[in-house]
Symmetry: C2
Subunit: 127 residues, 2 copies
């Protein structure tokens, strides 16, 4: 799916350095490199930055489901942190598992190489 | 509670512009202003930035409980977004509601003036 960057990027996703890797119907993959400003007090990828990557990917997955001319907002999200990210890059794959008229249920996994780093599930509202 | 900024700040909390307002035993209050780089595709405060504020405040609340010489990491967190933040500043108040030997349960609310904007609950691991 080939979508202009102006429709896939937000000021915040740019601030973090999120990079859209893949957009398919009901799916988005977004990469994030662990740069210095994204570190927590322990020097690892901050949990907020990891969550933000997930939220960005989920929002884009919703856009592939209802169209980039419509908007959606996160209603709630639960994330489990499985492994700390010490360096390199992580990839988040978000999938819309149910696209309803008013809400979408989205699932996301964050990987580094083949290792699962985090897992999340959310509900989005279609506007 | 008067803690040196070097112990309360991380590169990521500085990137966002988080400001520690109050630290008490088992409690942290952190403020965040909606600057341009924190906006989502709709121009509102990005859900990832709001979550990051919550995660920062929760981490600091844990530090007040187990001491700033120890560390903690987020294991899981659930957030509900209640109202969109269109401008101004929000404040997050995080409270440790159970400080165990190995894990801490933390609750957080994000307010703008007297309005509840988001609500979160998390488990942290004490390292």
């Amino acid at each position: 799916m080939d979508i202009p960057a102006g429709l896939t990027e937000s000021p915040f996703s740019q601030l973090l350095g999120c990079r859209v890797v893949r957009l398919e119907e009901h799916l988005a993959e977004v990469a994030l490199a662990l740069t210095k400003p994204l570190r927590n007090r322990l020097g690892k990828l901050h949990g907020g930055a990891m969550f933000s990557l997930v939220d960005v990917a989920m929002g884009l997955a919703c856009s592939t489901a209802h169209g980039f001319d419509k908007s959606s907002v996160t209603l709630e999200c639960k994330i489990n942190y499985i492994r700390a990210v010490a360096d390199g890059e992580v990839n988040c794959i978000a999938r819309v598992i149910h696209a309803g008229r008013r809400t979408l249920v989205v699932d996301a996994e964050v990987f580094q190489n083949d290792k699962l780093m985090a897992k999340a599930q959310a509900t989005f509202a279609a506007l």
